[in-house]
Amino acid sequence: MSIFVDEKTKVVVQGLTGSQGRFHGLRNRDYGTQVVAGVTPGKGGTEVDGIPVYDSCAEAVAATGADASFVVVPPRGAPEAIMDAAAAGISFIVCITEGIPAQDEALFYNKLRRDFPDTRLLGPNCPGVISPGKCNIGITSGDIALPGGPVGIVSRSGTLTYQALHELSQQGVGQTTCVGIGGDPVPGTNFIDCLSAFEADPDTKAVMMIGEIGGSEEERAAAYIAEHMTKPVVAYIAGVTAPPGRKMGHAGAIISGSQGTAQAKMEALAAAGVTVAQNPTEAGEKMVDIVKNLG
């Protein structure tokens, strides 16, 4: 099994007629993903390489039964595109858009929560999700993933998501699903959402988690793992040697306290029983050892 998406997932690409949308949408289809429609307001009735384009998600859903969306729309249009997908009843929305204003993100996150509580948003500013061999929504290069499990991956950083997939695939260890949650201030899906989904997925036997400095999501994930996870977790946190970040006035210091450094995150995870690696390669090696011992 896999989490969030599989071979039955039908995807509408919002922004399919743009250059990025076309490139990645067609790549996702080539991978085997059911890309059933595109949406670009004002371009309904056209098609992109045989994929029908509609003016709105509601039309695309009515015509094709799409249940997931891939938002490849510039920052100005992305909030509207996300709400359009949710209003059409799409239950899983992947938004890769980088550079959406934080005020917009906070607004649509809370709107979705209130008006469409069953809709899951992944991102924005994330690489997407891939269930190897079944479905790839986003910008991950499908050939670096290996089908068959047993590892689930969740990562906050885009390129480190690819690195994690690569390290495992090179060693012959497959993945059930790899989720890039993105590093923006208000991610629609967080570590804990993914960890609990992996914990519930019978085919996922171990989880690799990639975090980075800043915020307190990794610390919260550590608390969750200590309390709820029975499956082994390997973690890597980027940024041990990163230049000190800028401090956001007093308010930032007051709300974040001492949390946020790579060291604090690694300590919290280790204390929760997580195997903590010093670099992506070591994380891959430690996961290979764990998978070997699963029997």
Partner: protein, 383 residues
């Protein structure tokens, strides 16, 4: 983008938030003119983007023009924690009865806006937060609902603001919230927010961080740009749209994505080297951006090798390869490049570079191997 105090106050003024009358001065004569206009006594304040100005002697009270001359002369050119003062803000001195604190920022954990208000404002607010957290009243605001006057009124009472200040403070919170939301701030903070002896509430300081992602809908922000004092490399990188931070090591770093760039720094450090910089070329970088990144690094004389670590997703490796080839033609690179290329169109990228591989351009198959090679080259084989 962090704003200077005077810019923050100018931004506040757009939203009707009351501040003291004052003006900007770059010279002693200008300072006197601003003081004459604001009315004596005045406060002469160093404009630097660092805390602790007052303790460093960068904020002085002046009773008349002579004192303004003395203080402005002393403060201009002063070095405050590595920040040289080039500009002053001169404003009418307020008779302060009480100092409060107010701010809006995003609480990433709650995923809602957070308003904090305290009756114990002033220089030691962070200590108050640490030792007496109950002295700071907090309110989470759902962005869908916004902030309403009854909530603001309740909050200032809860924070223990003086009775006579509450109505004005609550109104000011609504204005500050509008500034924070409509003005696309990551942070809008007033410390201190004062009650004067005449019973007026206004902002004595302004700390504003603008969300760079929202620049597209704020043409007025152009007034704030270009006032930062960056070093030459940082200036060049900014012009090219690169996320660059200079460090002191000898291995130049170029990576795509902040996470991979940070991880590259970590790995270089773990194999015994030190990074000369952090440079994230971002997602979807094309040949131009890659060439520009190499040019920026090439201006750093401490660099002995350049580690280019690319894992293509939205960034296509063939574009990266083209950029490297272009850079090789365009500038004479002083250091060898160690390249690691994986992901989207990696094979096409490697094919483009095949004819250019030499001792000046080394391709390594793994991140760790490439880090070792780059460190070896940077240290002349001593490691």
């Amino acid at each position: 983008m962090d704003l200077y105090e005077y810019q923050g106050k100018q931004y506040f003024a757009r939203f009707g938030i009351p501040t003291s009358p004052g003006g900007v001065a770059d010279t002693v004569d200008e300072a006197v003119a601003r003081a004459d206009a604001a009315g004596y006594p005045v406060v002469v304040k160093a404009q630097v983007k660092v805390g602790g100005r007052g303790k460093a002697g960068g904020i002085k009270l002046a009773a008349d023009a002579d004192e303004v001359r003395t203080h402005a002369g002393n403060i201009l050119g002063m070095d405050i924690k590595g920040h040289v003062v080039h500009r002053l803000w001169v404003e009418h001195a307020s008779d302060i009865a009480r100092e409060y604190y107010a701010s809006f920022t995003l609480d990433r954990t709650a995923k809602k806006h957070l308003c904090m208000v305290s009756a114990k404002g002033g220089v030691d607010i962070e200590e108050v937060a640490a030792t007496d957290p109950s002295a700071i009243a907090r309110l989470h605001i759902d962005p869908v609902d916004g902030l309403h006057i009854d909530e603001a009124t309740k909050l200032v009472a809860e924070a223990g603001l003086d009775e006579e200040a509450r109505e004005q403070a609550a109104q000011l919170l609504l204005l500050l919230y509008a500034c924070y939301v409509e003005g696309d701030c990551d942070l809008a903070e007033i410390n201190p927010l004062i009650l004067t002896t005449e019973g007026k509430v206004h902002a004595l300081d302004a700390k504003v961080t603008l969300d760079d992602n929202a620049a597209f809908r704020h043409p007025e922000w152009e007034d704030f740009a270009g006032t930062d004092t960056l070093d030459e490399r940082e200036k060049l990188a900014k012009e090219k749209g690169l996320n660059y931070i200079g460090l002191s090591g000898s291995v130049g770093i170029i990576a795509n994505g902040a996470g991979l760039a940070m991880s590259t720094l970590d790995v270089v450090n773990q194999v015994g080297g030190s990074a000369a910089n952090f440079l994230d070329i971002g997602g979807g970088a094309n040949a131009d951006v890659m060439a520009a990144a190499l040019e920026v690094i090439n201006t750093d004389e401490a660099v002995r090798s350049i580690f280019v670590n690319i894992f293509g997703g939205i960034t296509r490796c063939d574009e990266v390869a083209k950029g490297i080839v272009e850079a090789l033609h365009r500038v004479e690179l002083r250091s060898p490049i160690v390249l690691r290329l994986d992901g989207t169109n990696a094979e096409e990228g490697r094919a483009i570079l095949a004819d250019h591989v030499s001792e000046r351009l080394v391709v390594e198959p793994t991140m760790l191997g490439a880090a070792r090679r780059a460190v070896t080259l940077a240290t002349g084989g001593s490691k």
